[in-house]
C-alpha cells in the first residue's frame, strides 16, 4: 500500500518541528506559533526520526488559568497519562500557557494528535505537537519577562493569557470565558 494517504494525516509533526530540526536548533517551543506560518510542507522524516516512538506532546495555547486537573480530564480520554509538566513562568513559577503531556505509548500520543489537538479545553482551542521528550529546563517560558515568547509581542488582547496584567482574579477569568461564550454562537445545541 502506498505510504501516502488520500487524505492528510493529523498525527504528523508540525512544520515547526521540522523547520527547527533543519536549522539544527534545539527543540525549544516558545516560538512555534510564529514559525508555524512558514509556508512549507513538512519534509518526510529523516533516517533517524526522533519522533518515531514519541510518547510526549507539547500542548500550546492553554489559558494561564487551566489547571493540571483539567488537562488530565481531557487528555486521559486518549490513554493513561504517565507524566504531566505544566509550563511555568521562569520568574514567578506560575502557569504560562503550555504543558507537556507524556503517555505510556506512542499510539496514545498519536491518537491525541488526531482527536484532541485542535479541540477546546477550558474554552480555548489548544494545539498539540509530537515532542521528542521532556528535558529539565523546558518547563520554563523563554520570553524576556519569563513567559512564552509569543506573549511578549502579542498585539491582540487575550485575557486568558495575561492580557489584563498578572494579578487577574478569578472573577475576571469568569468574565473572560463568558464574554467569549456570548460571541460564539456556533454549533449551539438547541
Amino acid at each position: 500500500m502506498a505510504a501516502r494517504t488520500t487524505v492528510d494525516r493529523l498525527d504528523k509533526p508540525s512544520a515547526y518541528f521540522n523547520s527547527r530540526k533543519k536549522r539544527g536548533g534545539h527543540h525549544h517551543r516558545d516560538r512555534r506559533d510564529e514559525d508555524e506560518d512558514m509556508g512549507r510542507q513538512p519534509e518526510q522524516p529523516a533516517e533517524e526520526d526522533p519522533l518515531r516512538d514519541a510518547t510526549t506532546l507539547y500542548v500550546g495555547n492553554l489559558s494561564f488559568y487551566t489547571t493540571e486537573e483539567q488537562v488530565y480530564e481531557l487528555f486521559t480520554k486518549c490513554g493513561e497519562i504517565k507524566r504531566l509538566i505544566m509550563g511555568l513562568d521562569r520568574f514567578n513559577k506560575t502557569p504560562c500557557g503550555f504543558c507537556f503531556v507524556e503517555y505510556y505509548t506512542h499510539q496514545d500520543a498519536l491518537d491525541c494528535m488526531k482527536y484532541i489537538g485542535g479541540t477546546k479545553l477550558d474554552e480555548r482551542i489548544i494545539r498539540t505537537d509530537l515532542d521528542p521528550g521532556f528535558e529539565e529546563g523546558r518547563q520554563y517560558g523563554r520570553g524576556k519577562s519569563g513567559g512564552q515568547v509569543r506573549d511578549e509581542y502579542r498585539e491582540d488582547f487575550d485575557e486568558g493569557r495575561g492580557g489584563l496584567g498578572r494579578a487577574i482574579q478569578s472573577e475576571q477569568r469568569l468574565k473572560e470565558v463568558e464574554r467569549r461564550d456570548l460571541e460564539s454562537d456556533i454549533g449551539r445545541l438547541r
Binding site: A2, P42, E73, K114, G118, L174, R188, L189
Partner: protein, 826 residues
C-alpha cells in the same frame, strides 16, 4: 459564527494540513493550482503545465464532492483526461493504484471511481484488465490477513464494475464465499467468520444489482435463498451486546437485530420489488442527450475476471468480530427522518458511513466533511434538503423524501459511539467527529444532536449502563466545546427526582463532568436556578478543607502534626511516634487502630498535596513505603485508604479517581480492594445508592479495564516470545486467575444488589414505609444494570482467551510442521 471565523488563527493539529479543516497560509499555497483554475481563461496555460498524472490524481481525490457538477460530466472528464494521456506511464501506473487506495480510504466515492473506469474502458479497455489483476490479488491478500472490511470494500468496487465483466460477473466469487461460510458454520456453532462472510455477500449484492437489475435478478434470488439460514443464525454473544437492558422479568419487546439478519429481510423485499435501490448512485448513466456516450458504454468490451482463490485458512483478523447491532436515536419519531429498519437504505447507507467513520480516524475533519456532505454520494432526491428543520418534514409531500441528511449522519456516529462491546476507535474520536461536524454545519447538525440527546435522555432508564455512561461522557465533553450551553430548562422538573433515578443521576454526573473540564462557578452560571443547588459550596472550593483543622475531629492534633512534618519533608521515624499515639488513642476508644492511623496519615498526605495533582503525586512518592505498609496491614486499612481519598476529594471526584489510579500504579492498592470498596463497603454504607453515582461506576470500570488490558498484554506476549516463555506462562496464568477472581467477586457482590437480597436492602423497611418499595426497585435496577455490564466484560475476556489459545495452537502446529520439514530435509 465567531468561532468558525477564528478558524484561520488555528492551524489544524499536526500541521499536516487538514483537508476540510480550517486553513492556513500554507494550505493556501498548496491550493495555488485551484486558484489558477478559478481565475480561468487567460491562465489556462498554467493548468496545462501541471503534469496529467497530478491532475488526474487531484480530480479523482475530490470526485463527487462538488454538488453543482453533474456526475456524468465529471466522470467523463476524468476518464478522458486519463485515456488522452494513456502513453504517460506514470499516470497509467498511478491510476490503478489510486483507484484501489481510494476505494479503501474513501468508500463513499467507490461508485464514482467505478464509473470513471467504465468510461475509460470505452477507449482503453486494457485499464480494466490492469485493475482486475491487482484487485483480485488484493482481495486474496486481504482475506489471508483477515481484513474483512477491506475485502468488502474491494468487492464493492468490483461489484460496481459488473457491467464490464464477462459471464456471471462476480457471482461465482460470492457463491464460493457462501460455500465457505456454510462450511465454517457447520463446523462450529460459535464461528464468527462465516457470519462475517454472509454479511459481506449481502452488502455487495446491491452494488451488483444497480448495474443491471434484470440481468442479475435470477442469480441474486438464488443466492438469497442460500444465505437465509445462515443470516438468521444469532451470534453467541448477541444478547450481551444489546444496547438496551431488559428487566429479568420482562421479555424484550423489540430485540435489536443484527445487521446481517436485517439485510436478509430487506434484500428479500428488494427481490420482490425488482431491486429498485433508488438511493444508490448510478454515475455510469448518461442523460439522453449523451446518447453516443451511453451507446459506447453499453457496447464496451467485457473482461474475464481472474480467479480469486479463497485461502484455506481464514483468520478472524485484527478486530474481534461481533455482529453490528442496528442502533438509531431517531427510531421513535412521528416523521421518518432516517430510513426505517425495513428498508435496504437503512443498512447500506449506514454501512457506507460507518466504514468512512472507521477508516478516516486519521483526519476527523475529513470524516466530518464526508458526513455533512453525505447527500453528494447518493442518488439525487434520496434525502430532504440539507438543514430542513424537523418540524418542516411533516409538510413534505409523499413521494419526496423526509430523510434528513444530518440525522442520518449523526445516527451513524452514535451507532459507532454506542457499539458494544467496544467501538473500533477510542470513544474520544467519535466525540471529535461530532464536534467537527457541528463546527462545519452548525445550523444543520446542532438541532439533530439536540434531538439525539433528548432521545437518549428519555431512554436512559433502559439504555445499557455502559452506554449511558458513554452518553454522559460525550455530552459533557461536547458541551465543553460549545460554551457549555444546553437547554437545561426542559429537564428542570427532574431536578426534584431522587438521586437514585437514572435521569437525575445523569444530570448530576453531567454537571460533575462539566466542572472537571471547567470550574464550578463557570458551570453554575450556565445552569437555570433549580440546578444551582446541585453545585454546593464545597464544589466551588478548589482545595478541600482539612478536617483536622477543627478540634472537633478525632485525632485533630495528630493530623495537624503529621501534616506539618510532611510539609517539612521530615524523616519517617519522626512520624512513627505520632502514628503510635493514634494507635493507643484508638484502642482507648474502641476503634480499629490501623484504620484510624491510616485515615489520619492518608488524609494528611492528601492535604499536603491538595494544591495540584503534581503536588499530591510528589507527596505520595515521598511516603510510598508507609502507604504500602498501610495497604498491606489489613483489609480494613486498605479500604480506609480509598475511603480517605474519596472523602477528602468528595466534592471533586475526578481528582479522587486520578489519585486512586496512581495508587494502583504504585501497587499501594490492588484492583480487588477498589472493587470491594465500591461494591461492598461504599454500596453497603449508602444502602446501594453508591451504585447510582456515575463516578463510582467510572472508578470500577476503569479499574476493571486496567486489569483486562494487562491480561491481554501478557497473553499476547506469551504467544510470541519464546526465550522467556516459561516465566511468561506462569505470569500469564497468575494474571488470568486474578482477573477471574475479580469478576467472580463482582458477580457475588452485584447479584445480591440485583436480586434485592442484600442485607442493607432488607433492613431498609424500618425507616420509610411508602418510598421503600420504589427505592428498592431503583436499587435493584442499578444492581442489574451493573451486573449486565460486568458479566459482558467477563464474557468478552473469556472469548478473547479462547481466541488467543486457538491462535497459539495454530501457531504451534505451523511451527511443528515447519520443524518436521526441516528435519526431513536435512
Amino acid at each position: 459564527m465567531a468561532d468558525y471565523d477564528r478558524g484561520d488563527r488555528f492551524r489544524p493539529g499536526g500541521g499536516g494540513g487538514g483537508g476540510g479543516g480550517g486553513y492556513s497560509k500554507k494550505r493556501r499555497y498548496q491550493r495555488d493550482d485551484d486558484d489558477y483554475d478559478r481565475r480561468g481563461g487567460f491562465k489556462n496555460r498554467r493548468i496545462d503545465s501541471t503534469p496529467p498524472h497530478q491532475r488526474v490524481r487531484r480530480q479523482l481525490l475530490t470526485i463527487a464532492e462538488n454538488p453543482i457538477r453533474a456526475w456524468h460530466e465529471e466522470v467523463a472528464s476524468i476518464a478522458n483526461l486519463f485515456t488522452d494521456n494513456w502513453d504517460d506511464e506514470l499516470l497509467r501506473r498511478n491510476f490503478v493504484d489510486l483507484v484501489m487506495q481510494l476505494s479503501l480510504e474513501q468508500p463513499l466515492k467507490t461508485p464514482f471511481l467505478a464509473a470513471v473506469v467504465l468510461v475509460a474502458n470505452t477507449n482503453q479497455p486494457e485499464v480494466v484488465d490492469m485493475l482486475l489483476a491487482k484487485l483480485t490479488a488484493g482481495i486474496e491478500a486481504k482475506m489471508a490477513e483477515g481484513e474483512w472490511r477491506d475485502v468488502k470494500l474491494y468487492l464493492k468496487l468490483l461489484a460496481c464494475l459488473s457491467s464490464a465483466l464477462e459471464g456471471d460477473g462476480i457471482f461465482p466469487v460470492l457463491e464460493e464465499l457462501f460455500n465457505r461460510a456454510a462450511e465454517l458454520q457447520t463446523a462450529s456453532s460459535d464461528d464468527t467468520i462465516g457470519t462475517e462472510l454472509v454479511k459481506i455477500i449481502l452488502l455487495t449484492l446491491p452494488y451488483i444489482m444497480v448495474t443491471d437489475r434484470t440481468k442479475w435478478a435470477p442469480k441474486a434470488a438464488a443466492l438469497m435463498d442460500n444465505t437465509e439460514v445462515l443470516a438468521s443464525e444469532p451470534h453467541a454473544l448477541q444478547t450481551l451486546i444489546e444496547p438496551y437492558h431488559t428487566e429479568a422479568t420482562e421479555e424484550n419487546p423489540n430485540p435489536s437485530a443484527s445487521l446481517t439478519k436485517l439485510l436478509q429481510t430487506q434484500l428479500q423485499a428488494e427481490t420482490v420489488a425488482g431491486w429498485p435501490l433508488s438511493f444508490l448512485p448510478e454515475p455510469w448513466k448518461f442523460p439522453v442527450e449523451e446518447l453516443e456516450q451511453q451507446t459506447k458504454l453499453d457496447n464496451a468490451s467485457k473482461h474475464a475476471l481472474p480467479t480469486i482463490t479463497i485461502p484455506s485458512n481464514l483468520p478472524a483478523g485484527p478486530r474481534p468480530l461481533f455482529p453490528d447491532v442496528y442502533f438509531s436515536v431517531y427510531s421513535d419519531q412521528e416523521v421518518e427522518s432516517v430510513p426505517s429498519e425495513s428498508t435496504a437504505a437503512s443498512s447500506l447507507i449506514r454501512d457506507a458511513l460507518t466504514d468512512t467513520i472507521g477508516i478516516l480516524h486519521f483526519n476527523r475533519n475529513v470524516t466530518a466533511r464526508h458526513l455533512v456532505d453525505l447527500d453528494c454520494y447518493f442518488a439525487p432526491r434520496t434525502f430532504a434538503a440539507r438543514a430542513t428543520p424537523f418540524d418542516r418534514l411533516r409538510d413534505i409531500e409523499p413521494p419526496k423524501s423526509t430523510w434528513k441528511p444530518e440525522d442520518v449522519a449523526v445516527d451513524a456516529v452514535f451507532s459507532q459511539l454506542f457499539q458494544l462491546p467496544t467501538p473500533e476507535h477510542k470513544l474520544v474520536y467519535y466525540h471529535a467527529v461530532l464536534t467537527e461536524a457541528c463546527k462545519l454545519a452548525p445550523a444543520a447538525i446542532a438541532p439533530s444532536l439536540g434531538r439525539a440527546i433528548r432521545y437518549l435522555y428519555r431512554n436512559i432508564v433502559r439504555l445499557d449502563l455502559e452506554l449511558g455512561n458513554r452518553f454522559l461522557d460525550w455530552f459533557a465533553h461536547h458541551l465543553s466545546n460549545f460554551g457549555f450551553t444546553w437547554k437545561w430548562t426542559e429537564w428542570v422538573d427532574d431536578v426534584a427526582l431522587t438521586d437514585l433515578h437514572p435521569q437525575k443521576a445523569f444530570i448530576k454526573g453531567a454537571i460533575d463532568k462539566e466542572i472537571r473540564l471547567s470550574f464550578a462557578q463557570r458551570i453554575k452560571n450556565t445552569l437555570p436556578e433549580p440546578y444551582k443547588n446541585l453545585i454546593d459550596a464545597e464544589m466551588e472550593e478548589e482545595v478541600p478543607e482539612f478536617k483536622f483543622k477543627s478540634d472537633d475531629t478525632p485525632f485533630a492534633a495528630e493530623g495537624r502534626e503529621i501534616a506539618i512534618l510532611l510539609r517539612k519533608k521530615a524523616a519517617d521515624d519522626e512520624i512513627q511516634p505520632i502514628i503510635e499515639r493514634i494507635h493507643a488513642l484508638a484502642l482507648d476508644n474502641n476503634l480499629d487502630p490501623l484504620v484510624a492511623s491510616t485515615d489520619v496519615f492518608v488524609t494528611s498526605v492528601l492535604h499536603v498535596g491538595s494544591k495540584s495533582l503534581s503536588h499530591v503525586l510528589a507527596a505520595i512518592e515521598r511516603t510510598k513505603d508507609r502507604l504500602t505498609d498501610a495497604g498491606a496491614a489489613s483489609d480494613a486499612a486498605r479500604s480506609q485508604i480509598i475511603s480517605a481519598v474519596m472523602t477528602f476529594w468528595s466534592a471533586h471526584p475526578g481528582v479522587a479517581l486520578c489519585i486512586i489510579e496512581k495508587l494502583l500504579n504504585y501497587s499501594i492498592l490492588v484492583p480487588s480492594a477498589v472493587i470491594n470498596w465500591a461494591l461492598v463497603t461504599e454500596a453497603g454504607a449508602t444502602r446501594g445508592a453508591a451504585l447510582s453515582r456515575a463516578h463510582v461506576y467510572e472508578l470500577v470500570f476503569t479499574t476493571v479495564i486496567k486489569v483486562t488490558n494487562r491480561v491481554r498484554q501478557v497473553v499476547r506476549r506469551s504467544g510470541t516470545a519464546d526465550d522467556a516463555m516459561v516465566d511468561d506462562a506462569d505470569a500469564k496464568d497468575a494474571e488470568v486467575a486474578a482477573m477471574r477472581d475479580l469478576f467472580r467477586a463482582m458477580e457475588d457482590a452485584l447479584v445480591s444488589w440485583a436480586e434485592g437480597s442484600k442485607d442493607e436492602l432488607v433492613e431498609m423497611e424500618i425507616d420509610d414505609g411508602e418510598g421503600r418499595s420504589e427505592r428498592e426497585a431503583l436499587i435493584r435496577r442499578w444492581g442489574q444494570q451493573w451486573l449486565r455490564v460486568f458479566r459482558r466484560r467477563a464474557a468478552i475476556e473469556e472469548a478473547f482467551l479462547v481466541e488467543a489459545a486457538k491462535e497459539r495452537r495454530m501457531l504451534a502446529e505451523a511451527e511443528a510442521e515447519a520443524g518436521k520439514e526441516v528435519a526431513n530435509g536435512s
